[in-house]
Symmetry: C2
Subunit: 476 residues, 2 copies
């Protein structure tokens, strides 16, 4: 068991140095104080001082030089420029990119390729042993050994645990407000099905998660893509105008660490958005699957936290934090709960019994918060490493998003680069990316791509990014 106080101390020191690098007090190439001097200056042990440097080294911000000490290597200031915010679309549109998506995502389990397409947490960082223990325990303890159907609403212990977790994002819900699902996509499917009819128009971010767009298409919905800022999410002013022009039946958004843009809607905007939709009586489906994966000190709140009228249908899952293969997600559907229960009964009867029970047991006994802390730290470090490599290997002028959480980067390349071609070319080198075109139903984002930084940083990953950079350079 790690000492939480020490944990805190080395991070404090590291953050101070990081701030100095960011504010140009320390510049690229500057030599840092030796470990001994740092420990004396800060009144910390040598080992804590070393830990702080090690942490910064992992993030790619400083580097050790043999027999010389640590030097500043990179500053967040030299991050690539942000991608641009899209123009509002000329019309609501309806097009198909389904086949590309199937090609990109057919196989998640392939280990032979360098997969920058799927947003799966690094399996080696997940608490497999503890989850296994929980699974064996509930297999023994559950009535009928988990062979029985679970109730339609879902495992009662799990729902209680989920209600407790909601405290961290400002929720005041009980287990009875929760309906479990087969992962977050299933939650989105049920919610979208509950609040729309074929032919309705929904509004989404742009670029938007291809799963949401494809779902909308399979439900014969029309989709309005809202201009979305890569840092703070949809433009509320544009939304207000759009609400006057279009009969929008529902919004489907990923406000926290948006996929694929990585932005996080400020809490103030969330509140304003919820009030606005309340006035217009428009449901908001809130996909918060990345909410726990924050790089900053605290978890962002959710739109659901401001929901007083039950119009927000909150969706999430454990697929990004604990066990993708368990397919355990949930929704907190507000006043649509009865419709959701009916739809769930129609679509799948109930969700698998043991995976729900195992995760409930793990949450009760497994130090989930501790696990999340480590996962967040690792992801943050990987994010920085990937960005630095893109800066190094991609052509100048490549724009990159600056996510404060989540798993994904959004890259905007020279306008002559077509990432559909890049996808095909990269496949030849066993590298899988997801082209920007699948994140819209409009005719755009051909020069963009999503790149996930979920795979632990390694020489292989660096080589992959270098190869991608070479391919891009060859396409200009």
């Amino acid at each position: 068991m790690r000492n939480e106080k020490t944990d805190h101390l080395y991070l404090q020191v590291a953050h101070q140095i990081e701030d100095m690098i960011e504010q140009d007090v320390l510049r690229i190439g500057d030599k840092l104080p030796s470990v001994r001097i740092l420990s004396e200056e800060k009144g910390i042990s040598m080992s804590t001082a070393f830990q702080a440097y090690y942490h910064l080294e992992n993030k790619g911000l400083i580097e050790p030089r043999p027999k010389s000490g640590y030097y500043v290597r990179f500053t967040p200031k030299s991050f690539p420029e942000l991608p641009s915010c899209c123009e509002p679309p000329k019309k609501v549109k309806h097009a198909s990119v389904g086949e590309i998506i199937t090609e990109v995502f057919r196989d998640f389990s392939t280990q032979s390729q360098l997969n920058f397409a799927v947003a799966v947490p690094p399996i080696e960082l997940l608490p497999a042993a503890r989850l296994n223990k929980s699974l064996v325990q509930v297999m023994r303890d559950t009535e009928g050994n988990g062979l029985n159907y679970e109730s339609v609403q879902g495992n009662v212990n799990l729902r209680t645990q989920i209600a407790r977790m909601s405290l961290l994002w400002g929720g005041t819900i009980t287990g009875d407000d929760v309906v479990t699902t087969t992962g977050c996509m299933d939650a989105l499917t049920l919610c979208l099905s509950a609040v729309t009819k074929p032919g309705d128009t929904i509004a989404v971010e742009s670029p938007s998660y291809h799963g949401i767009l494809q779902l909308a298409e399979s439900f014969s919905l029309k989709v309005l893509e809202l201009p979305t800022n890569p840092v703070y999410g949809i433009e509320l002013d544009y939304l207000k105008k759009a609400l006057k022009q279009h009969k929008i039946k529902a919004l489907v958004l990923i406000p926290n660490f948006n996929n694929p843009l990585g932005g996080c809607m400020p809490d103030q905007n969330k509140e304003e958005l919820v009030k606005l939709l309340e006035k217009e009586n428009i449901p908001l489906i809130e996909d918060d699957i990345y909410g726990e994966m924050h790089f900053g000190k605290s978890r962002p709140r959710t739109c659901k936290a401001y929901d007083e009228s039950g119009l927000v249908l909150y969706c999430s899952s454990f697929s990004k934090s604990l066990a993708p293969g368990y397919r355990v997600g949930w929704t907190i559907p507000g006043k649509f709960k009865n419709q959701i229960l009916q739809l769930k009964l129609n679509h799948t009867i109930s969700s698998a019994t043991l995976p729900q029970a195992a995760i409930a047991h793990f949450l009760e006994h497994g130090r989930y918060e501790h696990h999340l802390r480590n996962l967040r730290k690792t992801l943050h470090t990987q994010c920085l490493r990937y960005v630095q490599a893109i800066k190094q290997y991609f052509p100048e002028g490549t724009r990159v998003s600056r996510p404060q959480g989540g798993f994904v980067l959004w890259l905007e390349l020279d306008k002559n680069v077509n990432t559909l071609d890049l996808f095909q070319q990269a496949l030849k080198y066993n590298i899988n990316i997801s082209p920007g075109r699948i994140y819209t139903l409009q005719d755009r984002y051909y020069n963009c791509m999503r790149l996930t930084f979920a795979q632990p940083w390694s020489e292989k990953v660096e080589k992959g990014i270098r190869k991608l950079g070479e391919l891009v350079k060859g396409m200009k």
Copy 2:
């Protein structure tokens, strides 16, 4: 391990006696030869003779009287009359019974009530210990301990096993033709979604499984209910006429041991049906979830067995035979495979990893066929017991289906009885039934109900049926 030869011998003798009862050679009240005389006559051991009588006693056909021997108690001849076949509907209809259904099926796990509504196999007959073993094994052996996403198409070992199973129903498929799903309802959801658009008309049996009707409704489909014979399924002549009058986009049928009617379409009709639909280029979604639960000697074939053009989308699951709570089903979608894969990716990404792997392991090592043999025998016996109790406790004139497999009976009561009222009244006695009205979108079947015989026969079950009979008598 039981001796299969002895097994056979006692059943042979029992069948001979059963035939004599059915042909009125032995009548109700007749005394049977003593165990000793039976053993001498048939040249079998005393214990085999006793086993034969015990088997017939379990089926409710004979009864022992103290110090006197065995007597004939019931003859299949005195089965209640069959329910009538519905008239063709006046028009294609669109109505809602969703709320009743949610009320009937909200909780599968309630143990306190006598649940005649849910068609779940008797858990005590499922091979929990062996499945547990398989689960622990695959949890250890699977890469990432089952935390990883499974591929969209599903576990490759499981798909191979499913392909092997298809030999028994005349299939010639490979694992690559199979897509796994989260239970059979999920398979039906994906298939219906693949072959229809909102506003299309589909044709189904009548009465038809409420899950199919609700699904159709949630997809904004119109539904044509085909007159269905309680013994041999839909009337092909009527279908031919209907195909001329309506633009039918797809059929959704349960040809084997239909739910709720219990009938089984003769193989010849299946072939004729598939040829007919082939000519018209209309897809058939075939729900074969009860196919393995035959009471007769062999498994009926499927429509898929006659499918040469890839128009049959076969759906099934392990929920009725092995593990309802595992939510593992599959589809063999013929030429719609690519659409199904795309829809599955959109709706749930992939199905849970470990439940699929565990069932694959069980099928490879677990003596599935042996388990099924026992399950079928028990279900057959329970079916007879339930029918006898209905005959005894329900008003004269009550009509009952005569299923040759599956889990459910269809009852047709006096036309003045409303089973929606019966459902409410029965709930007060902690008895759960499913009213006939939910098996149609038309305005009918108010005097019908589905009663599952999945719960092992017991005094409690008998009392429950008696109470139902009393309630029905009080409603006339």
